[in-house]
């Protein structure tokens, strides 16, 4: 068989890009297992000592707890608001649909840093400021909301409307049709959206940085602060922990819903 030089070059280039994409992530995981003191190669040996250090770090453990809490609340609220809004947009809005969709997606289209600043000023103006981290929680909900909206919308959009009509023709009321036919069928969209919302909330930085109250540092902000002064494998351990959690989430998700159904 004749080798095709064009194809070969393309393949080599593409492999190089994949290596570029994965390299920093893989390096972090490897270095987090280093038994030595420094974030350097060659690693001296394999150990979990830095994970132990992480376990004993009050700051990091608190930050992880805060991140989980914020992400859980954001996912819950965005999940409900986003699903309801998507149903309205796709099923009921007619003339305004385009504009409404754009508006719902706006927090995703406008850079997060601007939203963070705007929200910071606003919270001060209404006299709440960064107290109780209300602003932080609201910011996370605003930014995660479009992910649920988008995924549920596209699930609804790809949904054969005659299924609902079939249900009505068989004697089911509109509410019953929603419960027994529509909801089960858009469930993958809702799950995808919520998973996304959770992961995104876990990663949100700018809003967390500007709107954090006292004692509500989220994990990314804590890691960022830590790296200003310390550059040791504890940071790698916490990073690899979050990488592994993301990976597990992706694997579980891929098994049950399929990665291809993700929408950005």
């Amino acid at each position: 068989m004749r080798r095709d030089p064009g194809k070969l070059i393309l393949n080599v280039f593409v492999i190089a890009v994949y290596i570029f994409l994965m390299a920093p992530i893989v390096l972090i995981v490897i270095l987090s297992l280093n038994s030595g003191e420094f974030l350097l190669f060659p690693i001296e040996g394999v150990s979990l000592r830095w994970f132990g250090a992480l376990w004993n770090s009050r700051q990091f453990m608190d930050a992880i707890g805060t991140s989980f809490q914020v992400a859980a609340i954001s996912t819950f609220v965005s999940g409900i608001f986003g699903t309801l809004a998507a149903i309205y947009c796709i099923r009921f809005a007619h003339r305004m649909r385009g504009a409404l969709r754009l508006f719902m997606m706006a927090p995703l289209l406008i850079p997060e840093i601007l939203t963070a600043i705007a929200l910071l000023f606003f919270m001060y103006q209404i006299g709440i400021g960064t107290r109780y981290s209300i602003g932080l929680q609201i910011g996370h909900i605003i930014v995660t909301f479009p992910y649920v909206f988008l995924n549920v919308s596209s699930a609804l959009f790809n949904f054969d409307k005659s299924l609902e009509e079939a249900s009505r023709s068989l004697g089911a009321s509109p509410l019953m049709t929603f419960r027994r036919v529509t909801l089960p069928l858009i469930k993958p969209g809702v799950i995808t959206g919520c998973l996304f919302a959770f992961i995104i909330s876990f990663d949100i930085f700018n809003i967390s940085l500007l709107l954090k109250g006292i004692g509500t540092t989220t994990l990314p902000v804590q890691l960022f602060d830590y790296l200003r002064w310390d550059f040791d494998p504890t940071a790698a351990a916490v990073s690899s922990l979050s990488i592994i959690m993301t990976l597990i989430a992706i694997l579980i998700f891929d098994r049950f819903v399929g990665l291809r159904s993700l929408r950005f």
Binding site: G6, L10, F13, V14, V17, Y18, F20, L21, M22, A23, P24, I25, L27, I28, L31, F41, I80, F81, L84, A85, F92, A93, M104, A106, P107, P111, E112, I113, L114, T115, I117, A118, L119, F121, F122, Q125, I138, I141, I142, D203, F205, N206, L209, L210, L219, P220, L223, F224, L227, F231, A235, A236, S239, S242, T246, A249, I250, L259, L262, F264
Partner: protein, 287 residues
Amino acid sequence: MSGAAPDARRAFLLVVPALALLVAFFVLPYFSIIIMSFREPATQGVHGGGFTLANYVSAVGDTFILRKLGETMLLGVGVTVITLLLGYPVAYHLARMRSRWNGLLYTFILAPLLVGLVVRTFGWMIILSNGGVANQALSWLGIIDDPLRLMNNYVGVTIALAHVLLPFLILPLLANIQAINPEVETAARSLGASRWRAFWRVTLPLSMPGIQAGAILVFVLSISAYVTPAMLGGGSGRTMSVLVVQYLVENFRWPAGAALAIILAVAAIVTVALFFALTHRVTRKLP
């Protein structure tokens, strides 16, 4: 008359929570950022009593800020071009590939996006620092004697941003190329075009909407990025966003910071509009 009308009116309740949330905590805050940028600066409290244009006037008159704005825009263009050059072949390759590795490669593109921004930038700190992996590898290969300065300047920021934003370019492009019937390329070949010409004349123009979407996304995200320049840029690689946050958090100059943020936003909008106008000629003809 028809049973649908009252249904539709009641259905509006579905969207009310989301609308209320967005209007109260998204639309209104954007008014406060605009208002803040016209407030007088003050040493006591967040802002002074009156309104003024001084924040804009002094920002536009400040050569340091103008230089930073220019550098930020240039950084955005650079990152966009790099991600395009790296991302297009990957998107094309994956869109046209039929094998069991498909899913895995898709995960490779997606996974970095889902790993936190701070974590990924931290990975680049490990690679690019003076004693880091990159310098170690280069000196081990005998290419360099003294370590290269890859961090605390725009070099590091550009590399890391290209990495961070690459998935945002690949994903829309992938969807676009997948939607192009591969047979149009075969048809072009059957009409006597070489593989390269077929690509250049048929596939590339058809994938223009994907390029447009991805490029705009990457550009906007790179000029507004905060984490990566803050962690890798050091003193000389500070971008506008870093400057804005510095104004807000360290110097507590909110009105001036608000004006800077708005200048950045306007510059972004102008650039994107310009890009649209330039690429419009190509995409206009597409379905």
